[in-house]
Symmetry: C2
Amino acid sequence: MGITKTQNFNAQQNRVASFAKAFAHPARVAILEYIIRQNSCICNDLVEELPLSQSTISQHLKELKFIGLIKGEIDGPRICYCIDEVRWEEAKGLLEKFFGSFASKGSCC
Amino acid sequence: MGITKTQNFNAQQNRVASFAKAFAHPARVAILEYIIRQNSCICNDLVEELPLSQSTISQHLKELKFIGLIKGEIDGPRICYCIDEVRWEEAKGLLEKFFGSFASKGSCC
DNA sequence: AAAAATAATCGTAATATTACGATATGGGGA
DNA sequence: TCCCCATATCGTAATATTACGATTATTTTT
């Protein structure tokens, strides 16, 4: 086993989990924070910013890109990465909806 | 390697990542949704609700409890699990702050 | 054309996660 | 007391993630 039984959960549950996974590593949180701070990003900047190797950072960027939270365009010999607004808003909406679904009615414990 | 270099990131980044990890599996999303819907919870209900074995569900509950999003009290031969309001609000606040930190200034790509 | 710069990908190793069956534990009731 | 129920934990296997060095690909500069 070890494989997540994705097919047994509904689309929204999988979507929330997928977006959450994007934030589930401090390096990716740091990468997103950096992109936001710069409002544009070049991968190599991150190599100097973060205590991780170039290949590791590239891998994290690939995951963020796969999930769709960032997008990248070739800009000369570099890649310009930035936040994908549409997906960001989608993630924000989903997560906020999820957090909003809990309202304390006085805990049972 | 394979070990996350936690010590290289700041407390807030690690905290965001830790909370996000709680949601990073559809089973845990489903578990939280169920607890919220019931406003109280008994583990065994979940065994009937979810297509996972009792031991797997127990393991997911343990993780949620470790992160602090739920708390459980012994209630006779059962365990009553429910949302830990304080932590839930903390997670909500952190994630919302994170999402709020991005405001489109016109994307660069 | 050769060299430099940037970033992706490959290969690989260590560790973490997911999952389940089997077993243990602890309380309640017969 | 002995058994049953609900949960936790153990052991184990499969898969995923994290990380890095080395290599590759691409483009720009020399």
